[in-house]
């Protein structure tokens, strides 16, 4: 299988462990990740908050390059994924927008391809059976809270993926790896990512609620499929603990890090030493390292 791969800006910097894990896992599954040559930023929330045309055009350029190869785009960042879907929809429903966008990008984007998120890719395109075949080490004893966040599943009219209130696809993958998924109610609560810099106090409150619920539900760690959620939840964890006088010490993994670990890759190969919340003691305690 071959699919276009759009890392997005985070995966080359703050989300490098996700990038490394995706590449290793894809190779093991026999998937060719064709990285979109010379891709540009999706514009993230600043683009769609500033203009109605800009976010569509920025994403259309990347989508057009993949469309020329006849490929759909795997977008491991939930924010990029959501913005790409919005661009596909706009180009397909608004003739005037499509003309303006194509004029701006100097390409003829027809809107025939689409974006796929990482959980959707593993669950729907690869399948649990194929993943299970590659498992070398069961992640027994690891209690995982699957955190889908907002943009992977919402709004459902756009993503058409899983369930916006109680999604299950990531849980099924984690279960297949031999880990124990916990039942908890904050799977799709917002972590406030977009306000991380301009309104940091919001992040402390929202992430505190998420970690406090995960801890009360018995989780050792969280798993996400978004570098924005992952960064936001780990980067401010120390400040959150200080602000609310609590202790979490809870790493947040990307889904492919856990898949990679069960495929037999070492934590170092998967970039697990690059977390803001150290993964070392948990990996040692569960005898994964």
């Amino acid at each position: 299988m071959k699919i276009a791969y759009y890392p997005g800006c985070s995966l080359e910097s703050t989300g490098i462990e996700y990038h490394l894990s995706n590449k290793l896992v894809a190779k093991k599954l026999g998937v060719e990740l064709w990285e979109i040559p010379d891709w540009n930023c999706c514009g993230a929330s600043p683009a769609h908050q500033s203009d109605l045309f800009l976010p569509i055009a920025l994403n259309a350029r990347n989508l057009a390059i993949a469309e020329e190869e006849g490929l759909d785009v795997l977008a491991p960042c939930a924010a990029c994924y959501n913005r790409m879907l919005a661009a596909v929809e706009a180009v397909n429903t608004d003739e005037d927008m499509r003309a303006k966008v194509n004029d701006a990008i100097g390409r003829d984007y027809k809107g025939t391809n689409t974006a796929v998120n990482m959980v959707e890719f593993l669950h729907d395109k690869i399948g649990i059976d194929k993943i299970t075949e590659q498992i070398q080490k069961k992640l027994s004893g690891l209690k995982v809270a699957c955190y889908y966040g907002c943009l992977l599943v919402k709004p459902p009219a756009l993503t058409k993926f899983d369930n916006p209130e109680n999604p299950q696809t990531m849980d099924r993958i984690v279960d297949a790896l031999g880990a124990e998924t916990i039942v908890w109610p904050y799977k799709t609560e917002c972590c406030g990512g977009g306000l991380a810099i301009s309104k940091t106090e919001v992040i402390l409150k929202l992430t505190n609620e998420i970690f406090s619920m995960a801890q009360a539900s018995g989780a050792d760690c969280l798993v996400t499929a978004c570098p924005m959620c992952q960064l936001n939840l780990e980067l401010r964890q120390a400040a959150t603990e200080k602000e609310y006088n609590v202790k979490y010490n809870m790493p947040v993994f990307e889904i492919t890090e856990l898949v990679g670990l069960s495929f037999g890759f070492s934590p170092k190969e998967l970039g697990m030493h690059k977390h803001f919340v150290s993964t070392a003691s948990l990996l040692k305690e569960k005898q994964f390292a």
Binding site: S13, I16, D38, W39, Q49, L54, K154, P155, V202
Partner: protein, 190 residues
């Protein structure tokens, strides 16, 4: 019998309301004020108005108040409201549209730091083709006056080798710059 205009604000803001509806594709008159959006909104607690109130104010023609509201700047676009709305209103996109129009019409920005962050972020994309984190931090900190913003976490990022002090310049950055140029032309042409 001739109808009496019971709400003069509604009459006065007719053209602005129709511009909002045309650009957002959201018909606020469909809303029956159940409040589900407000109940699930993660930022209502720090905002002046809830999403339900924003829609109600538009129904009443209070466009000036809406354009000055902090809610349209604080909305993080999580999509809870839209996902749960029994009338299927795309409120995040309504907020995006209100934010864009509010700036175009010259209303005061209720949450300056959000605006400065967005603008600084996009500047780095416009010139390099991608997000340039170190550049964003420098621009945001100097323009917002929050000189120490991010300095608590920056050493950790550097130590882990996650943030580069240099930008990654894509080859097609002229194409990206052209997208921004077209956007400005359209804003001017409007």
């Amino acid at each position: 019998m001739e109808q009496v205009a019971m709400n003069t604000a509604l009459k006065a803001s007719e053209s602005t309301l129709s511009e909002i509806e045309h650009k957002s594709h959201v018909d606020v008159n469909r809303c029956f004020q159940c409040g589900t959006c407000a109940a699930g909104c993660p930022v209502t607690y720090i905002s002046d108005y809830s999403p339900r109130q924003i829609v109600k104010m538009l129904q009443a023609g209070m466009v000036d108040e809406v354009f000055k509201a902090s809610m349209i700047w604080l909305c993080v676009g999580c999509g809870n409201c839209y996902s749960r709305c029994p009338r299927n209103l795309n409120i995040p996109h309504l907020h995006d549209t209100l934010r864009v129009l509010s700036k175009e019409k010259g209303y005061p920005v209720a949450e300056k730091n959000v605006d400065v962050f967005n603008d600084s972020f996009l500047k780095t994309v416009q010139y390099t083709g991608r997000l340039y984190e170190a550049g964003l931090t420098m621009l945001y900190n100097t323009r917002s006056g929050n000189f120490m913003s991010g300095m608590d976490v920056a050493p950790g990022m550097m130590k882990l080798g996650k943030i580069s002090p240099f930008p990654h310049l894509i080859k097609g950055r002229k194409e990206v710059a052209n997208i921004f140029k077209k956007m400005r032309e359209m804003k001017g042409a409007k």
